[in-house]
């Protein structure tokens, strides 16, 4: 892309803020699922990561994730930058939002189920 990492972070943050409705501080989950691939197109983030995260958002039944906060939105990008290998993820020391913890858990379960098959 034409922006370096730090500048892109600002653009990415702007994407979220631009799409907010009225005085709402959050975005609807469905909107986020549609928006993420657009904002992060062109390999900003490994496509597998992007896809699986959207899959997680779609399948989670947790009501509290029906709306996504700015913090959660921004953390996703930072998370993709900093944590390439999910195997190194340690929840007990992680400051990442719980949404990310649950995403990692989702991926771990998926891997286990995949092995069983």
């Amino acid at each position: 892309g034409f922006l370096d990492r730090e500048d892109f972070k600002d653009f990415y943050k702007f994407c979220f803020q631009f799409n907010r409705q009225g005085t709402h501080k959050t975005l609807e989950k469905d909107l986020v699922i549609a928006l993420l691939p657009i904002c992060l197109s062109g390999g900003r983030v490994p496509s597998e990561r992007l896809q699986s995260f959207c899959e997680f958002l779609e399948t989670t039944k947790d009501e509290s994730y029906s709306k996504i906060t700015l913090d959660q939105w921004r953390s996703f990008l930072d998370f993709c930058y900093e944590v390439e290998d999910l195997a190194t993820y340690d929840e007990s020391s992680s400051a990442w939002p719980v949404l990310i913890d649950e995403y990692v858990e989702f991926m771990e379960k998926k891997a286990k189920d995949g092995k069983k098959k």
């Binding site: 906060t69 913090d71 959660q72 930072d78 400051a95 913890d101």
Partner: protein
């Protein structure tokens, strides 16, 4: 005549003085008497003569000053005597067994001390000037030195061997000559350089003895550990340690006591510590299970001698108590699995935990001397056990209900000191509870019920319990409870004043009001029931009186909590029915034989189904059916119709008609909300003080600040995110692991 010669100023020549006077009169005689075994060999007259000879020979003017020679010859005399007489005598005895050698050595040492003493006395003048002037060893020191070099160094190994043999014999139960050993030990003590140092004793006797002691007890240990149970083994240890200690007192140097003790402790305790603790059939766990307090006490005292000797034992105690506690929990689980109905009350279970705690509190106090490691073990185990909830009702609730039993009238029949004891013990159990805030919430609800229904057995007991909780948890924890008691106290104070006001009106009802301060009390439903006119009038009188006193307060009536006594006449008999306010309102509606169906009642009374159904059930389906329901069954349906039961009768005059509570026992959601709030308040407090903090440190700080419950890290994180969302905090741009406080 010879003395007179000197007085005349005749010079004494060296050889003359030495041979004719000193050697003949002093040394030879001395040696002879030593061989014969006497001590007091010299009469004053003889002594003075010899002394004077030496004196003169040392004070004559040069070149007739024989100080140096006399000093030399003093040494040579001793040395020769030792070489020619003493050493051969010892060597003669050396092949004949330890005691014989030691006895000879003792004899020769005693002799040497005598010889040294007399020679010192004769040659004293040398000590005063010559020795000092030339910085030489004193006569006594020189004499000792010679004994050491000639005799001691040659005999010490055998002597040490002999002593050690004797000591080992004594250890095996033989009787030995202690005074002999003591005398030889004194010899060793005196052989240190300069006489003051214990070096010879330490190196030549003590060290070999320590080695021998180690070997001896290593053998004993192997022998005992194979055959003995732990208690029997420990009795032997105790005995051995006592014997060794006594031995030192009797004939060794005190400096050896700690060293010998440590060797013995090491060999027979330290090296088999785990073996003893875990021995099958007699180890620590078995002793605990069988309440063998004497054996445990002995074990405690012995292991406390070792470095970190008590931790392994404390760990076993902890694990044992935990398993006992778990057994209580399992018993409860089994009861529930067996189909027993789930209740919020399980006094048997709570009491079993209390009894268990009391028992081991006592054990720790008496058997383990209240040692802090064991107190910690008890605490750790109960923190595990008490928080194991089983079934639908948490242990927090079971414990609160236990208190309710103790505190309510008609509960447990206990006298004052029994009440205090029970409360004391439940508070101790409470201290281990993680969810203290949950306990508080349930306790407050139950307290409110007791207070409002006048079912509290003793105001003092209520205050006592609150005071105990306050000591445990601080003022903030009990402020609402205290507020509740205070409301009642204030109400009591003002009762007579309002009663006087009531008398001024003629309502035909006796009426009193309890004012509750919102916030102290649980929240209750406030059904806006339509009251009959006479009741409404009472409310108005009260409101007028109250508002005049407190202009700023707003009253909100909670009719679901009130009680009433309804005087009723069924047929010819009259009864006093003790009912709730709502029940009274319903009964009033059915005066004059009226009939209503359920939906009509709803409209008249302005009540919903949730309230009216249990209400009608209590009056028409319970034990005292004062209202007749059609059709007659046990369920209230909206198609039912009701009328007063003209045929109602009972033997009793006063009848209490109970009703199911309209409010839940406590508000689980409120506890959760309060927790969220408490976590956020803690986070803000911490971040405000620290300005910037790493994630893990923040989590740790939050956990340490929350004393009444223990949240999961994820719950804390959710609160952090919420605060980020509300701009109290932000994530650090430089470090995704850190937070900054936003002022």
């Amino acid at each position: 005549i010879e003395m007179a010669d000197r007085a005349n100023g005749n010079i004494i020549q060296l050889e003359d003085g030495w041979n004719n006077e000193i050697k003949k009169r002093a040394i030879d005689k001395l040696e002879q008497t030593l061989d014969n075994g006497f001590d007091t060999a010299f009469e004053p007259k003889e002594y003075i003569r010899i002394y004077t000879t030496c004196y003169d020979m040392c004070t004559q003017r040069s070149p007739y000053n024989w100080s140096r020679d006399l000093y030399q010859r003093h040494g040579e005399t001793i040395e020769q005597y030792l070489q020619n007489t003493v050493l051969p005598a010892l060597n003669d005895k050396s092949g004949q067994g330890g005691t014989i050698l030691l006895n000879e050595l003792k004899h020769r040492w005693t002799n040497h001390q005598i010889m040294n003493k007399w020679l010192k006395k004769f040659f004293t003048y040398l000590d005063r000037y010559y020795v000092k002037h030339h910085s030489l060893p004193t006569l006594e020191q020189a004499g000792l030195r010679h004994f050491k070099d000639v005799v001691y160094e040659n005999v010490k190994e055998q002597a040490t061997g002999a002593i050690i043999s004797l000591i080992n014999e004594e250890r095996d139960g033989e009787i030995i000559e202690k005074s002999l050993v003591k005398s030889i030990v004194e010899l060793y003590e005196n052989m240190g350089l300069g006489g003051a140092s214990l070096e010879s004793y330490t190196n030549d006797l003590e060290q070999p003895l320590l080695d021998a002691t180690r070997a001896y007890y290593a053998r004993k240990r192997e022998d005992w550990i194979a055959k003995d149970s732990t208690p029997d083994y420990l009795i032997k240890v105790e005995k051995a340690l006592a014997e060794e200690k006594a031995r030192v007192t009797e004939y060794l140097n005190p400096a050896s006591e700690p060293k010998i003790r440590r060797v013995v402790e090491d060999e027979i305790l330290q090296k088999v510590q785990m073996n003893l603790l875990e021995k099958e059939g007699s180890g620590c766990r078995v002793l605990l299970a069988n309440d063998k307090s004497e054996d445990l006490q002995r074990m405690f005292h012995l292991f406390s001698r070792l470095d970190n000797g008590l931790q392994p034992m404390a760990s076993i105690v902890e694990s044992f108590i935990t398993s006992m506690g778990n057994a209580c929990v399992e018993k409860r689980q089994a009861k529930l699995d067996g189909g027993e109905k789930e209740k919020n009350d399980d006094p048997e279970f709570v009491k079993s935990l209390i009894d268990l705690h009391e028992k081991y509190l006592g054990v720790i106090r008496e058997t383990f001397s209240g040692h802090h490691l064991f107190q910690k073990a008890l605490k750790n185990s109960f923190e595990v056990v008490v928080n194991q909830d089983v079934g639908q009702y948490s242990n927090a609730e079971l414990m609160s209900t236990f208190c309710d039993r103790v505190l309510k009238s008609g509960g447990e029949k206990l006298n004052d000191s029994e009440v205090e004891e029970s409360l004391d013990r439940i508070v101790q159990l409470f201290s281990f509870l993680t969810d203290k805030d949950l306990f508080a919430d349930i306790y407050r609800n139950q307290l409110a019920k007791r207070l409002l229904n006048q079912r509290s057995s003793s105001d003092d007991a209520e205050k006592l319990m609150i005071a105990k909780l306050k000591v445990q948890c601080g003022t903030q924890f009990t402020s609402k409870m205290e507020g509740m008691l205070n409301d009642l106290a204030v109400g009591n104070d003002q009762k007579s004043e309002f009663d006087a006001r009531m008398e001024q009106h003629d309502t035909k009802l006796s009426f009193s009001v309890q004012v509750l301060t919102t916030g102290f009390w649980p929240t209750y439903k406030t059904p806006e029931v339509s009251l009959p006119a006479n009741m409404t009038k009472c409310l108005e009188i009260f409101t007028e009186w109250h508002d005049a006193k407190h202009q700023k307060r707003k009253l909100s009536w909670v009719h679901s909590l009130g009680n009433a006594t309804v005087k009723s006449i069924f047929g010819k008999k009259s009864y006093d029915l003790q009912v709730t306010t709502l029940q009274a309102v319903v009964l009033n509606t059915f005066n004059d034989g009226k009939t209503f169906d359920f939906n009509e009642l709803k409209k008249i009374l302005n009540l919903n189904d949730i309230t009216l159904k249990p209400l009608m059930h209590s009056l028409s389906c319970g034990k005292y059916k004062v209202i007749t329901k059609t059709p007659a069954n046990n369920k209230i349906n909206s198609t039912d119709s009701f009328t007063a039961n003209a045929k109602f009768s009972s033997n009793m005059r006063k009848i209490r008609i109970p009703m199911a509570s309209l409010d839940p026992s406590h508000n689980k959601n409120r506890v959760e909300e309060d927790r969220s709030w408490a976590i956020e308040a803690a986070i803000v407090r911490i971040m405000k003080a620290r300005k910037t903090l790493k994630h893990q440190e923040l989590i740790a700080e939050v956990l340490s600040q929350l004393s009444f419950f223990r949240p999961q890290p994820r719950d804390i994180k959710k609160r952090i995110e919420a605060l980020i969302d509300r701009d109290y905090l932000e994530r650090s741009a430089e470090n995704s692991d850190m937070y900054n406080y936003l002022a």
